[in-house]
């Protein structure tokens, strides 16, 4: 009898401990978001969102950084989305289990694990210096694309694989070719899952600083970039600059910038979550 009390006491103790750990993990996340929201909101104004920085960035707005991050995210999407989805189609629909396929998988796992600053070095070596793109939006976008690729490939592959085999069999038996089947049936069914992965990948790219440090980020730019071969300001790099490199920086502008960056990233996260849960609710199979 004593033994059984002991066991159940242990369970209560253990469950409480684990629950507390989960709470301790999650609370700071909520706290960070709420804190930045509270501290940053007073800084947000039309002038802050649509103006240029002046007085050594200690006053004015952050428009060039917002636009720059938008450009970089779009640039990253242009390169990584078609390539990533095509690679996922290859892995899910065409590739058989050969040593070559296994090498591709190992390569993807490794791409996912390479430190972001090493991507920055690579971008500097290949795009900025070797291909002579210079410190530019295009060099930074290409660097971010390769970093984003493994996220897009693995989520897209997973969602292609979750489309039941019967869909393909029926389409092929009705006389469609393999590519027609993939384009009109499989891709259509897998689209929400692919979209979720794409947005989550781009979200990471939008928030990254290290890969763009030496490939495309500008410390300060008094105008908007006017070609893909221009350097650009970007929100994450700007936050880094004003929180470490500029003395006597007003704290309000720092929190305001952090809030805009966070809002950018969280909006993408939210869109991805909504697409995923909607697709799950609608799914017939």
């Amino acid at each position: 009898m004593k033994l059984s009390i002991n066991r159940h006491f242990m369970q209560r103790l253990g469950f409480t401990g684990i629950t507390l750990m989960a709470v301790a993990t999650v609370t700071p996340i909520i706290a960070v978001v709420i804190y930045i929201l509270a501290q940053g909101l007073p800084a947000i104004s039309t002038e802050f969102l649509t103006g240029f920085p002046h007085d050594g960035m200690r006053a004015g707005g952050i428009l060039p950084a917002i636009v720059g991050t938008l450009y970089l995210t779009i640039g990253t999407a242009i390169f990584s989305v078609p390539l990533g989805i095509a690679a996922a189609i290859y892995l899910a629909e065409y590739a058989s289990d050969t040593p070559l396929t296994r090498t591709i998988r190992i390569a993807i796992i490794n791409l996912a694990g390479i430190p972001s600053v090493v991507y920055g070095l690579f971008g500097l070596g290949l795009f900025v210096l070797f291909l002579k793109f210079g410190t530019s939006i295009i060099a930074a976008s290409l660097t971010l694309s390769i970093m984003t690729l493994p996220v897009i490939i693995s989520t897209a592959e997973e969602s292609l694989r979750s489309v039941p085999q019967g869909f393909r069999t029926v389409s092929i038996s009705l006389g469609a070719t393999r590519w027609q089947t993939i384009r009109r049936i499989v891709l259509k069914e897998a689209l929400p899952g692919i979209l979720t992965g794409v947005i989550l990948g781009l979200e990471r790219a939008a928030g990254e600083t290290a890969p763009i440090l030496f490939t495309g980020a500008a410390f300060f730019l008094p105008r908007l970039p006017n070609s893909p071969f221009d350097a650009t300001m970007a929100l994450p790099y700007h936050l880094f600059v004003i929180s470490t490199q500029v003395p006597e920086m007003p704290i309000k502008i720092q929190y305001g910038t952090a809030l805009v960056l966070l809002a950018f990233v969280l909006t993408m996260n939210l869109i991805a979550t909504v697409i995923r849960s909607r697709a799950r609710a609608k799914r017939q199979w």
């Binding site: 253990g14 999650v26 090498t103 390479i114 090493v118 393999r178 590519w179 928030g207 929180s243 952090a258």
Partner: protein, 298 residues
């Protein structure tokens, strides 16, 4: 009509195939450029100088030991934070939490994974390090400890998601068997489910460590950036400088093709090889475990 269709299909198939192979190409390209720009460091700087304890590039001192130990101490600290909290959270989500709680927790942990590291570094400078300075009575709060705590937080989502997948993959029959034998749910988790998911949990830890070694912006902002040898236990309370932070902080200021430039690429090469090792080890653990499971089940 027929012919143009087959031609188009042929071209599209080839394009898709090429995209599939591109991942290999990119890994090879990255390695090639790191070697191309990093290897010259080996003949420009004597090997004994690379393994010295002084990193002071302006006077041509390129000792990597302070940076290696800096990365090591911050990563160990981050692992000590991320492993218990990550695995605890994974166990809670997969084994204990009611369904609605799970639906809330999973996106939240995912959100942590998506928080830009520069935002965490920013809060580290403004909140965490002043707190540590006062609380522990240190000369500065920008220490390896601050880096470890934040880095632990950054590694947690990786650990949680991989460990949770591993726990989910344990067949329900294992748990039911244990309950039928009279084990409590706690005993089942501790002695059946976790051991059965051991290899996946190990992978989770390794990937978390990999994530911590490679993190750049947060550590650069909060660890104080002092390239001193960090081998004493007390080093955790003093400023350090990691390999990643060194590259990020100094690459912008060096002349292309200089010795300093080559050494920074050399450090990048070392980081690349470490992440390669960690990831191959992690995926081979999963692979072996799968094979064993197939053997048992067949």
């Amino acid at each position: 009509m027929e012919k143009s269709l087959t031609w188009r299909e042929f071209i599209i198939t080839r394009l898709i195939q090429a995209s599939g192979y591109s991942a290999i190409l990119f890994v090879a390209l990255i390695f090639f450029f790191l070697l191309r720009e990093g290897l010259p460091a080996l003949w420009e700087v004597k090997l004994s100088d690379l393994f010295a304890v002084r990193w002071y590039p302006i006077e041509n001192h390129f000792g990597l030991l302070p940076l290696l130990t800096g990365s090591l101490i911050v990563t160990i600290g981050a692992t000590l934070v991320a492993v218990p909290f990550g695995i605890g959270t994974a166990v809670y989500i997969s084994e204990i939490a009611p369904r609605w709680m799970r639906e809330i927790l999973k996106p939240l942990v995912e959100l942590l994974g998506g928080l830009p590291s520069v935002v965490l570094g920013f809060l580290g400078i403004l909140l965490l390090s002043p707190f540590l300075r006062v609380f522990l009575d240190l000369p500065t709060g920008l220490t390896a400890l601050a880096g470890s705590l934040l880095l632990g937080g950054i590694a947690v989502p990786t650990v949680v998601s991989v460990a949770e997948d591993a726990l989910d993959a344990v067949p329900r029959a294992y748990r039911e068997g244990a309950w039928a034998l009279g084990a409590t749910r706690w005993q089942t988790i501790w002695r059946v489910t976790l051991p059965a998911a051991k290899s996946g949990v190990l992978t989770a830890i390794m990937l978390g460590v990999g994530r911590a070694i490679g993190e750049t912006m947060t550590v650069m902002m909060v660890t104080g950036n002092a390239p001193v040898l960090a081998i004493k236990l007390g080093s955790i309370f003093s400023p350090v400088r990691t390999m990643t932070a060194t590259i990020a902080a100094e690459m912008g200021e060096v002349a292309n093709g200089s010795t300093h430039y080559h050494v920074l690429f050399f450090i990048g090469m070392v980081l690349f090889l470490i992440s390669l090792g960690v990831n191959i080890a992690a995926s081979s653990v999963v692979f072996r475990a799968k094979k064993r499971a197939e053997r048992i089940l067949s």
